[in-house]
């Protein structure tokens, strides 16, 4: 047992017993400078309390499933190093702005509905038959949307967005960034199908550019940029002659 320990204060919530979430403290051995918050949670689950519930999968910042509030900031727990917090305790809570199902597990249904609503796939007016030919793109055409394609749907941006916190109908940062990713794709022809959602009453115009979504994004997607640029583009479509072309 190493001498060094760190205190993890994790949210516990059993919907069948608890009226509201509460914090429970655990002392976790801190034996390696490369340890992350997710390691500490895994230690608790394996050695202290197997009933602690949370999501995780890849442990390398790719799957986007281990997002939680770490000392009040939305973070991927696989990318939050204990050494950055020690010797202070670390408070681990479920992502803000979402209903809590159990302990650190949030209900993702709202985000999933929003994601589906912007049709995050390539839409063609007429599909090219498989094997006929490929959709060619230049490097410059890929660069146009590459940044927005890095989104891993971790929902940290939603947890950081006070606009979404105050109005859960708001389409939100990641869904808009992904809509922009497809709208900028030279192979895509689905802009008009997405416009009613992104330009609707709960779409981009709800955003007042807090900017925190881009601060917390672990992949540098910059959803705030996607939203503001979409505002400008939709305005130009409205103002410019022939702006509403395909």
């Amino acid at each position: 047992m190493p001498d060094k320990t760190i205190t993890i204060r994790a949210t516990r919530y059993d919907p069948e017993k608890d009226e509201k979430p509460r914090l429970q403290s655990y002392d976790v051995p801190f034996y390696d400078e490369s340890m992350v918050v997710l390691d500490a949670l895994n230690h608790i689950k394996s050695h202290v309390d197997g009933s602690l519930s949370y999501r995780w999968s890849c442990r390398m910042g790719i799957c986007g499933s281990c997002g939680m509030m770490v000392n009040g900031m939305p973070k991927l727990t696989c990318n939050a190093f204990l050494r950055d917090y020690w010797p202070r305790p670390i408070v681990v809570e479920p992502l803000n702005n979402f209903p809590v199902i159990r302990d650190l597990v949030i209900d993702m249904d709202d985000f999933m509905h929003k994601l589906k609503s912007i049709k995050p796939w390539i839409i063609r007016k007429q599909e090219i038959p498989l094997g006929a030919r490929e959709h060619r793109q230049t490097n410059e055409q890929i660069d146009d949307f590459r940044q927005f394609s890095e989104c891993i749907n971790c929902m940290l941006c939603y947890a950081a967005c006070p606009v979404y916190g105050l109005n859960s109908e708001f389409l939100g940062p990641a869904a808009t960034a992904l809509a922009r990713r497809y709208n900028l794709d030279s192979r895509d022809q689905g802009l008009k199908e997405r416009l009613p959602v992104i330009g609707g009453a709960e779409g981009i115009w709800e955003c007042s550019f807090v900017g925190e979504c881009s601060v917390v994004c672990p992949k540098g997607v910059d959803p705030a940029k996607a939203i503001q640029q979409t505002k400008l583009d939709t305005t130009m479509r409205f103002v410019l002659p022939y702006g509403n072309r395909d």
Binding site: Y13, P15, E16, D18, K20, P21, G72, P94, N96, N97, F98, P99, V100, I101, D107, D109, E140, D143, P162, G165, L166, S208, F209, V210, G211, E212, V215, D222, A224, K225, Q228, Q229, K231, L232
Partner: protein, 133 residues
């Protein structure tokens, strides 16, 4: 697990605390940025009233020169400067265009915005001094 099964479970509904804006520096600065528009709008409304009075003739024109109004105007000026600074700083995020097929760096866009702001201020300043002579 299906959606129906999810919604059938009891969940804890998260609520934004009333002091969310005071819990983090970034949120606080955002709220300040948004708030600066309010006194600015009030000051501009008063300016419209004065312009209307000036249009009614010299007899009706009586500009507000009290010390509280001067202090208010100075505070509004500071707010306007802060709001303009934040607005122009964000221009590099919003504007995106290419020159010779290359995207213009956002830093250059921001610098050009501040340059235009400075140039416009000089022109307006000269115009005001010219007409006031």
């Amino acid at each position: 697990m299906t959606t129906e099964a999810h919604t059938a479970q009891p969940e804890y509904r998260w609520r934004m605390p009333a002091d969310w804006w005071a819990r983090q520096r970034h949120y606080f600065l955002y709220v300040v940025r948004e708030f600066t528009a309010l006194p600015l709008a009030l000051w501009l409304l008063w300016l419209l009233v004065e312009i209307k009075r000036a249009g009614d003739g010299p007899g009706r024109y009586a500009p507000h020169g009290s010390m509280p109004f001067v202090v208010f105007s100075v505070v509004v000026l500071l707010f306007a400067l802060y709001h303009s600074y934040t607005f122009l700083s964000l221009a590099g995020t919003i504007l995106h265009f290419k020159v010779f097929d290359r995207p213009v760096p956002s830093r250059l866009i921001v610098l050009s915005q501040f340059g235009l702001w400075a140039a416009a201020s000089v022109v307006v300043g000269f115009a005001l001094i010219w007409f006031a002579r």
